[in-house]
Chain length 219, copies 2
Amino acid sequence: MAYLDVYEAMRTTRAVRRLRPDPIPDDVLRRVVEAATWGPTGGNRQPWRVIAVRDVAKKRRLQELYEGPWRAYSAGYRDVLAAATDEVRARDGRMLAAADYLAAHLGEAPVILVFCFNAGLMAITDAALDRPSVVGGASVYPSVQNALLACRAEGLGCTLTTLLCVNEPEVKEVLAIPAEWGTCAFVPIGYPVGRGHGPLNRRQLETMAYADTWGAPLS
Amino acid sequence: MAYLDVYEAMRTTRAVRRLRPDPIPDDVLRRVVEAATWGPTGGNRQPWRVIAVRDVAKKRRLQELYEGPWRAYSAGYRDVLAAATDEVRARDGRMLAAADYLAAHLGEAPVILVFCFNAGLMAITDAALDRPSVVGGASVYPSVQNALLACRAEGLGCTLTTLLCVNEPEVKEVLAIPAEWGTCAFVPIGYPVGRGHGPLNRRQLETMAYADTWGAPLS
């Protein structure tokens, strides 16, 4: 288990969508999942669970269930892209090609992590507001991020997807997930076909962070 | 900037609620916020922004807005705890005492990070399901977790709270947040009064992770 600086890990953890089918050793997988358990949750309730799917038939079924949502999402994305600049079209076109590859090979990833949550164990503080609620995610996605960073440390490619939520009833049937639990993240992981993790494409800090007031640049 | 192993960072990042008022150097704060920008988001849209609140009057106002929700939440928590075992009551009682301290001193933290999100920039794949939606959080809480891990690396205490969402309209007014943006995470940060980050109190891996089917222990 290599020693990796936390800043270096965060700076180089990106979506890796082309994965080799080679198996992931049990101890490596356990380290990735254990890192997730260290994430913070509201009231330390830990209202999530993860299913590590390695069964070939179940992974194939998840791939089938992914196809429809991916086709719909990517068609919309390509429509938007048609009107974009050449630079954006080239960059996002590469991303879409990799995501097409993932959709066509999801079932071949050695492991798909399926994160589940129980809203009944959460205090969702934005539930009554007149806008989409996101706060339930505060008790599961920090843990998912830990898993992604652990993958980076282990040399495993991975990407966070939520598209399978569209077909949640079918996913729950495949994995025997109880009625009161929902699904919220799907992370195919495996050793990368290409270079794997590396430099990110992100907006500059100045456009993301403000000082004291919306829009005032952070000095 | 010290070198810190990513696993060590994740294993020791816990809620630190007693913070010293001493200022945080600008370059340290920038590193924490920049780490957040590296987090993954759906379609790489980065549909979040963060406001670093250092203004004393604004921090005091946030503390005032925190008091009501904290009083309501903690009263409910104490009711539950009254029926718990001695061990749980002692452990969670310590947590509640620290959280009471935070509520009474929130405005004295040198910085409060306020994370905002724009649902219009998100593909919320679980919006149509017959259960609370959490997927919008997938495009902001991984970034929040990066900020917490960066705080850990910098020796800064921090904790993720969402209680101020209860008073979101007032918070938006204080910080001039535009109508189409919501608030989703509040992270007071500062150098710790006590030991700061350290060992976690979490459920065992075996109770959190399953293999292929709900409830089947991960080997």
